[in-house]
Amino acid sequence: MGLEDLYQQIILDHYRKPRHRGELAAPSVEVDHNNPVCGDQLHLEVRLEDGRIAEVGHTGDGCSISQASASMMSEAAVGLPVDDAMELIEHFRLMMHREAEPDEDRLGDAIALEGVAKYPVRVKCALLSWMALKDALQTHTATTER
């Protein structure tokens, strides 16, 4: 298994030029997640409009995989209805545990992270931003329903 799987050009590209990096002017919800095992930290902001993800912004520190993943996640998520986003998160999680065939149409560039599944210690890095998004969406739903 070559490292090229893990560090594909597209991943390095997202790492070097992260999309949707930064803070939002008017986030609907924000969450902080970190991976206590490796010290990766992520601050995620989401703006929702009419049940859709209108905007995503992320800041923080982490390894190439966690940074690239946050960038790819943001790209894939923006524009999705909340329900679809939740489904996509679950699909990504299953892919990282090698329990689902990845669906490129939905994942976009994030399909490149498939190779991370072979490196169990790095899976948490890849999942960090996706789990943060899940938490953000659930938090938002819970707050607005109340």
């Binding site: 490292l3 560090y7 206590p36 490796c38 010290g39 520190d61 390894c63 490196y119 790095r122």
Partner: protein, 411 residues
């Protein structure tokens, strides 16, 4: 004067070092996490299992007597390595259990609400969490001695705290597994004893790498672990003065550690057995004894001299890397061999992953020292750590691999 140590000759004793990783020779630079094992250790355990395996103590038949002899010979070697009394040399499963033994057996019965336990910001979790657990139950508080910018303990803070707080226990790491700092444990023990506090020294990173005499540390308790000193997994050591242990109630209860068990209550076996409940790590003690013998044959002075010079070399080579931050003291005379570092453009995880392609094993993460990571203001570091089988060439390979990793990520 200690004979010099020839790492190239010693390497032949370590079968795993012949192995290749990803098609290149293994360059093992993670001995602070666990050391590799020489043939002598593996063979001692194999012989134990194939020649005399039996449960120890009390067996009348010859096999059991032989097993007991080899087990106790292991204890004797380990005690000799650190100048300890064999009655005060207790086998545990690892250093963590040794510290927990003190925290629970001594702490639960001796700490009361408001008491203070002092540890340091550079402690390994194993010398923090047991105290937090016992503090939670007893109402005691855990205080942290600060670490300064050079990776040294703030002894003034410690002095003030000892003077003004009801400190009952001071836990301090002898050599930091992150910074490499060699702490002045004898001085700290003197200070603590002046104020009536007990002292536990975590010697997990010192006993494998330098001459350590228990009496010279000044400590009441000293903990270390087998797998970092050429020994097997599954065994650790608590050393204390027999009188100290005699005054304590036991920790784990079970077979071996009793004198008599009655429905109304039980009485305890003599030392060290009082603290060794259940079937002990027998083969592991045999293996650890062989490791101690191996180290004593080489001489701990020679081990330290080799590692001091290797650390000096590594500090020189690494400090030339553009933008690198090396955490901890820069003077090889006051530090052991773990070298933690950060690069501005490469996360520690990426470093460890990328240099692995060159067969180089370094650790990335918090090294079980999260409070220290917060003090250093980092989430994680990369750490290279050497042992008697490492050479300057290994350091060169690491430097080359780091340069290539950088190039790869920048490409």
């Amino acid at each position: 004067m200690a004979a010099e140590l020839d790492p190239r000759a010693l390497r032949a004793d370590f079968p795993i070092l012949e192995r290749e990783v990803n098609g290149v020779p293994l360059v093992y630079l993670d001995s602070a996490a666990t050391s590799q094992k020489p043939r002598a250790v593996l063979d001692a355990m194999e012989r134990y299992y194939t020649e005399t395996n039996a449960n120890v103590h009390r067996g009348v038949y010859a096999l059991a007597a032989e097993a007991t002899d080899r087990y106790e010979a292991g204890r004797f070697s380990v005690a000799r390595l650190v100048g300890a009394d064999r009655r005060g040399t207790v086998f545990t499963k690892n250093a963590s259990e040794a510290i927990n033994l003190v925290a629970w057996a001594w702490g639960i019965r001796n700490l009361t609400a408001g008491d203070a336990i002092v540890v340091t910001e550079m402690e390994h979790h194993s010398n923090i969490v047991p105290w937090q657990l016992v503090a939670q139950i007893t109402g005691a508080r855990v205080l942290f001695t600060p670490v300064d910018g050079d990776g040294r303990l703030d002894l003034e803070w410690l002095e003030v705290t000892l003077r003004t707080e009801p400190v009952r226990m001071v836990g301090v790491v002898h050599v930091s597994n992150v910074l490499g700092t060699i702490n002045p444990v004898a001085e700290i023990a003197r200070m603590a004893h002046t104020y009536g506090a007990k002292v536990l020294v975590d010697a997990s990173q010192s006993v494998p790498h330098m001459p350590v005499r228990f009496a010279d540390t000044g400590a009441d308790f000293m903990a270390f672990t087998g797998h970092k000193m050429l020994g097997p997994t599954g065994i650790g050591v608590l050393v204390a003065d027999p009188a100290t242990l005699d005054a304590m109630e036991p920790f784990l209860g079970g077979g071996e550690m009793i004198s008599d068990v009655r429905v109304e209550g039980s009485t305890w076996a003599d030392l060290p057995y009082k603290f060794e409940a259940g079937t002990p790590p027998i083969a592991e003690a045999v293996g650890l004894g062989a490791a101690a013998d191996y180290l004593m044959d080489i001489g701990m002075d020679a081990v330290r001299a080799h590692e001091r010079s290797l650390t000096a070399y590594a500090l020189g080579v690494l400090s030339e890397i553009d933008g690198i931050t090396i955490h901890g003291p820069k003077d090889p005379d006051v530090r052991g061999c773990p070298i933690s570092f950060s690069l501005p453009d490469l996360h520690p995880h990426d470093i460890a992953q990328l240099v692995d392609r060159q067969g180089v094993c370094v650790r990335a993460g918090h090294h079980c020292a999260k409070p220290l990571m917060r003090t250093l203001g980092v989430g994680a570091t990369a750490r290279a750590s050497t042992y008697l089988y490492n050479t300057e060439q290994d350091i060169d390979t690491l430097a080359r691999a780091l340069a290539e990793a950088r190039a790869f990520m920048a490409a």
